[in-house]
């Protein structure tokens, strides 16, 4: 019996903005290749208008997400981890294609990514106890500090670590009640797109997570200038571009993380700690009379 040859189905992937999967407003796409240089798919190349739309969506969603109970946010993040687990095979496949990793290595990366989501899901309702608290003051009043979300964070995901790095960047931002516009790895966007599909079908409200595929160096300056973006995560940006973005960010008093680094310096498989959680919160301190 002879088998008929099949046409290969090459997908054109889209962006993820405000809970929907739009094409780039610019109509641009770019070609994605696997680790061996074979054509895999087309991905949308986000323009500054797409980025701006994503910021609008993130702003709209942020207060509702921050207003949800920390416990509820934790449940929703855990749900995302469950969904990644459910699509484990596809993620392993994507990571192998994107990073040219061996099967055991790809399995290890996906395991670590799931564990990372669970780690941050657990932190949502514990974080304020760790970084907030009652401050010792010499007077007849309480002095209490509590962390509040910074707002809308634009995150440039690591260029090398296509899934674990992306998860390590996005999860801490949303765990503390921020909304995020994430720009994925330019050369390795497929795991990001699959992650967007997971987020869209879990219980994360529309606009809390927005994922753009495209060039960080192109979108970056517009986001650094944007007055309605509260913070930047420059993990995946080259050092020279990062300097420019930090200078631009100063004009609108944005938080910038990390101050000086690139993802080559970061070991995403190591202990994540709480540094990324603490990077995107503002400490609010209130004074309250003790009373009699």
């Amino acid at each position: 019996m002879t088998t008929k040859p099949r046409l290969s189905v090459m997908k054109t992937y889209k962006l993820y903005v405000d809970g929907k999967f739009p094409r780039s407003e610019s109509g641009r796409t770019y070609e994605v290749y696997d680790g061996k240089g074979t054509f895999v798919a087309n991905a949308a190349k986000a323009s500054r208008k797409d980025a701006r739309d994503a910021v609008v969506a993130a702003r709209k969603a942020q207060s509702g997400w921050a207003g949800a109970t920390a416990y509820n946010r934790g449940q929703i993040l855990y749900r995302v981890a469950e969904m990644i687990e459910g699509r484990r095979a596809q993620f392993v496949d994507d990571v192998r294609t994107a990073e040219g990793a061996t099967a055991p290595a790809a399995n290890r990366i996906v395991d670590a990514a799931i564990d990372r989501w669970v780690w941050y899901a657990g932190w949502t309702d514990k974080f304020s106890q760790v970084v907030g608290g009652a401050n010792p003051v010499a007077g007849p009043y309480f002095n209490l500090s509590t962390p509040e979300p910074t707002g809308v964070v634009v995150a440039f995901a690591p260029q090398g670590s296509s899934l674990l790095g992306l998860v390590s960047v996005i999860a801490p931002i949303i765990a503390t009640g921020n909304s995020v516009v994430a720009v994925s790895s330019y050369a390795r966007p497929l795991p990001a797109i699959t992650l967007a599909e997971v987020v869209a079908t879990s219980d994360v409200p529309s606009g809390v997570v927005n994922l753009l595929t495209g060039d960080a160096a192109e979108i970056g300056p517009w986001m650094a200038d944007h007055a309605d973006v509260n913070a930047l995560d420059l993990t995946g940006v080259d050092a020279d571009v990062a300097t420019d973005l930090q200078i631009r960010s100063a004009q609108t008093l944005k938080r910038v993380f990390p101050a000086r680094s690139s993802d080559r310096d970061t070991d995403f498989e190591g202990d994540p700690g709480t540094a990324r959680l603490a990077a995107f919160v503002e400490t609010k301190t209130v004074w309250h009379p003790i009373g009699t």
Partner: protein, 321 residues
């Protein structure tokens, strides 16, 4: 349509038309009908124009200068009116080149606070009167409402017509009430609100526009902002056609004010294109075209900041009210 010859006194030219309800009705029904599909298509086509940078800068400033900054809530306070006036005078404190708005629009009892806050700045004080927004009160009460606002210093009166009377065919009653309110206004400008969302057809919009202009309206206004749908591009276009035709017939300019539902710079620009294409350049002036809006101003300011600084702005950079 039987158009009287041009004259400086429209009232006498149309004296025959308003002799009784039957003749007024005959005149209004003699106006050409509106092709609804055609009107929608033309308004949509005009709204689809692309506005380029320099024209956009001009349009944003023109739109700001045409705004009647409005607060018409039951919860209004003197403090809120004062802060609105401060915003009308200086919409963007970080950029003093931003023009002031045309007027502040408030309820009658708030007029005195607005007059006090605005002084002789050139920003008008518009007051809604005649039992706004329903228009359901006796004539004596409506006229007292107008007089009250005028006495307090309002330079513009926004009256609502009795839609019930209009829809049941008592056109002369509507005419009479506008004439009486106009008389009560004294030197204040009269804007007549139709609430087009309740008038059902475009034909009615054209007829009521003529009715108001014959009765002496200085401005015709789409809506109270309390009923959906409020201002729409096709309805505004029909009203602009009416003022254009009225000008051709009588030589007298009447202004148009769309109100309610215009929130974005993009929307405002669509309206400006329609004004220019339908009525002409004369109407691209705050004296003859206004936007009844409160949230529109912030979006215009954000666009203005974006154009002057080169970076996208955010709602934290403008005041809430």
């Amino acid at each position: 349509m039987s158009t009287p010859t041009a004259t400086t006194d429209p009232a006498s030219a149309y004296a025959d038309v308003v002799r009784d309800n039957a003749s007024l009705r005959a005149f209004l029904y003699g106006l050409p009908g509106v092709d609804q599909v055609g009107a929608d298509a033309r308004a949509a086509a005009l709204g689809g124009r692309s506005i380029k940078t320099d024209a956009k800068k001009w349009a944003v400033d023109t739109a700001i200068s045409m705004i009647d900054l409005t607060t018409l809530e039951g919860a209004d306070t003197p403090g809120k009116v004062r802060s609105l006036c401060a915003k009308a005078l200086q919409p963007d404190p970080s950029d003093l080149t931003a023009p002031h708005t045309a007027a502040v629009c408030v309820y009658g009892d708030m007029v005195r606070y607005a007059v006090e806050a605005l002084g002789d700045s050139g920003v008008g004080v518009a007051a809604v009167a005649t039992a706004f927004p329903s228009g359901r009160a006796s004539e004596a009460v409506k006229l007292a409402d107008v007089k009250d606002a005028v006495d307090a210093g309002a330079s513009e009166i926004d009256m609502v017509i009795d839609r019930g009377a209009y829809l049941s065919g008592r056109y002369l009653d509507v005419y009479d009430s506008i004439v009486k309110v106009k008389a009560a206004c004294g030197s204040a400008h009269l804007k007549v609100i139709f609430e087009t969302g309740e008038l059902a057809t475009y034909d009615n919009v054209r007829r009521v526009s003529w009715l108001a202009m014959i009765a002496g309206a200085d401005f015709i206004k789409t809506s109270t902002g309390k009923i959906q749908p409020a201002a729409t591009p096709p309805v505004t276009m029909i009203m602009l056609e009416a003022v254009r035709d009225w000008y051709a017939a009588t030589g007298r300019h009447v202004g148009v004010k769309p109100a309610g539902g215009i929130r974005t710079t993009k929307d405002a620009m669509k309206y400006l294109v329609i004004v220019n294409e339908v009525a002409g350049e004369d109407w691209l002036d705050p004296a003859l075209f206004r936007f009844g809006a409160s949230s529109l101003l912030n979006d215009l300011l954000l666009q203005r900041q974006r154009m002057s600084t080169g970076r996208y702005s955010g709602p934290d950079y403008v005041t809430v009210d």
